[in-house]
Amino acid sequence: MKITVKYFAFFKEKTGVNQEYIEMCNGKTITELLKIIIEKYNLQDKENIILSLNQEYVKGDVPLHDGDEVALMVPSSGG
């Protein structure tokens, strides 16, 4: 399955990319995707990573499906 991964704020700078596609085997989860990303870009601390799946915030592990859109963000600070 093909997952679209978007990076914002700190993570856009750290990875040097706005968006990429990551191929994974069917049945994998968002935690497994995050592990791949952390290793690929040598991210140090996953505690501050805010994740969204298809434009909804995600807490905990959830299964991924072909075509899903995942984003890595820092906590919101608008306003």
């Binding site: 914002f8 969204s52 820092v74 600070s77």
Partner: protein, 135 residues
């Protein structure tokens, strides 16, 4: 009305767009880039935005606020990109028949926007540069 945009906005123009003579109470919140933070000078601000998700979240917030506070008309605009001290960041306009509800609704929208809308500030201070909530 929800807008996430780089361009500046005019409060007068935005007020005209949601003109409704049934509403006697219009509350306007304008957030701007402040010149100091924790006693240190702010040189500029950079805002990153997950535009599609921010629009979606603000739309949900607007719908909830309309139900909760009987708002008749509202407008929420948030800017992104590079902003200087004094520049406008966010505009919230709430119009309703009741002034108390208009004030409460504007506060409700702002607080939820700060918590839920994926908008991210990078502060360029006189002594350091950092993303809010960054690692």
């Amino acid at each position: 009305m929800i807008k996430i945009q780089k361009e500046n906005f005019s409060i007068d123009e935005e007020l005209k767009k949601i003109k409704n003579d049934k509403c006697g109470a219009s509350v306007i919140f304008l957030g701007t880039v402040k010149s100091e933070m924790n006693g240190k000078k702010v040189m500029k601000l950079e805002l990153d935005a997950y535009v599609e998700m921010a629009e979606k979240k603000l739309h949900e917030i607007e719908i909830d606020a309309k139900k909760k506070y009987s708002i008749v008309e509202s407008s929420i605009i948030h800017r992104y990109g590079e902003l200087c001290v004094g520049d406008s960041i966010v505009l919230i306009i709430v119009k309703s028949i009741d002034r108390t509800k208009s004030f409460e609704a504007a506060k409700y929208i702002l607080e939820r926007l700060k918590e839920e809308a994926p908008l991210f500030k990078k502060e360029y201070m006189e002594d350091k540069v950092f993303w809010h909530g960054g690692i």
